[in-house]
Symmetry: C2
Subunit: 300 residues, 2 copies
Amino acid sequence: MSFAQTLAHRAEQIDAELANLFVAGPAAATPSRLREAMRHALLGGGKRLRPFLVIESAYLFGAGAPEAAASAAAIECIHSYSLAHDDLPSMDNDATRRGHPTVWKAFDEWTAILAGDGLLTLAFEILADPSAHPDPAVRASLSLLLARASGSAGMVGGQALDLAWEKLDSTSPATADQVRELQSMKTGALITCACEMGAVIGGADDEARRALRTYGNALGFAFQIADDLLDAEGDSSKTGKAVAKDKALGKATLVELWGPGRCRDLLAELQNDCRAALAPFGDKATTLIATAEFVATRDR
Amino acid sequence: MSFAQTLAHRAEQIDAELANLFVAGPAAATPSRLREAMRHALLGGGKRLRPFLVIESAYLFGAGAPEAAASAAAIECIHSYSLAHDDLPSMDNDATRRGHPTVWKAFDEWTAILAGDGLLTLAFEILADPSAHPDPAVRASLSLLLARASGSAGMVGGQALDLAWEKLDSTSPATADQVRELQSMKTGALITCACEMGAVIGGADDEARRALRTYGNALGFAFQIADDLLDAEGDSSKTGKAVAKDKALGKATLVELWGPGRCRDLLAELQNDCRAALAPFGDKATTLIATAEFVATRDR
């Protein structure tokens, strides 16, 4: 199986888990309109990269996909809620995502806000439930990791910095350090969190957990640089996004600040960092190393 | 000390805990604009009824205020985020709350949405942190209770039902059962949760936990009826809200469906239910019984 096939196969399994949240799972008792909006936000496709990272990281420590299932679902709930809120008219004002209407377009603003709130809360309901993991210390640990990565000092904080820069402060120059900080909060924190959650599920020791964090940090950075390169130079028929959208919005990216050549060199370095971090795991890490290659070289 | 003084005294202690979240606590690393908006949402006054209920319920089982502090802060983060989101233009479109501009008015819509997201996430970060309670099983249990009460089958679901009825469906008649369901999700669930969290913090057995849930359900119902009576007949100079606002919005209330007389009888019954539920705790429950009286007879 090629890496793309492995990823697609996992995405199908993850989609089935996510759909089940609304049938037999904790979101089954949700009022109908809200439930449909949450489903729209959560089940609108996507590569399911974050849940994939949870499952593959847990695998390094001998934990199977069923043991990682709750964390995989929870982190995707967080990612999906953030997209539903980011797309709102008062934020990025996006009408379509992956070829479908965004949640506020398909329903309305208040429904999209509440669907996001519902998915955010659902993530922590999933992790706190005894079915997530038999050891309550692991459940609490997973909740803490996810809350830190996705909260006001992580993902939400990164989105606030991004919008403040775009809407309030676009005349001031952004330095590479500022761009890095914003991106590592907005995108990197949750990707690193996915890898570290896998380590926690598998009962990794401190050193192994640190290795997964190092891998996650390099992967998240690579993800963002590849995203910026795609925005600057990608084929909009593949990415499904307008090219140079960031530039049009006045958003600084490292590609703009450093040029595409230096960014491509950095991408190669980051792939090496990913490999080095996972070296202690030998062949077991093949899929995670392929993930780093995929992230760095994807064209959509 | 009168009950009102006890409540005010606790509110001061709770406010100090909440303010500290942004100084030495988990929200200290939040970017400045977002942090100020979260502070605005969380520290804008209020009776702090939910944290008070957590602390007083925990007291029944011998747990002191410091042991209940994390849960008290977490539930107020949830309550405050819900107000920041409910006030948004696409929801209730409120410009003032407790005499101050609402979060979106003081900042803007995107900041208010993100501040709410940040506070929601912060609640679960507080509860998952080892400092919340030494026993991880208790931490996970508290997270689960709070997520269920505040999520799409609880508070968020109730707000969705309320807005759907107001904005999409206002021609269809609302029955008393529908109003009850909506209100018990939107308001009651979090009040019951506060009482049950106190029981969990104190290590209550199943029977005692059920008693606190029974008390919380009756208290939440009483709270809502008192609120509806105030909306229909209250003194707006005291409540700080326009009188008959619900009626103007076309919202059905039990006061409208049943009349004020029957609602006042029901309030008295619910106070009896509160007393009966707490009878096994004897004098230790004096403050919680006074809370039920306060909730039923408040004029603001």
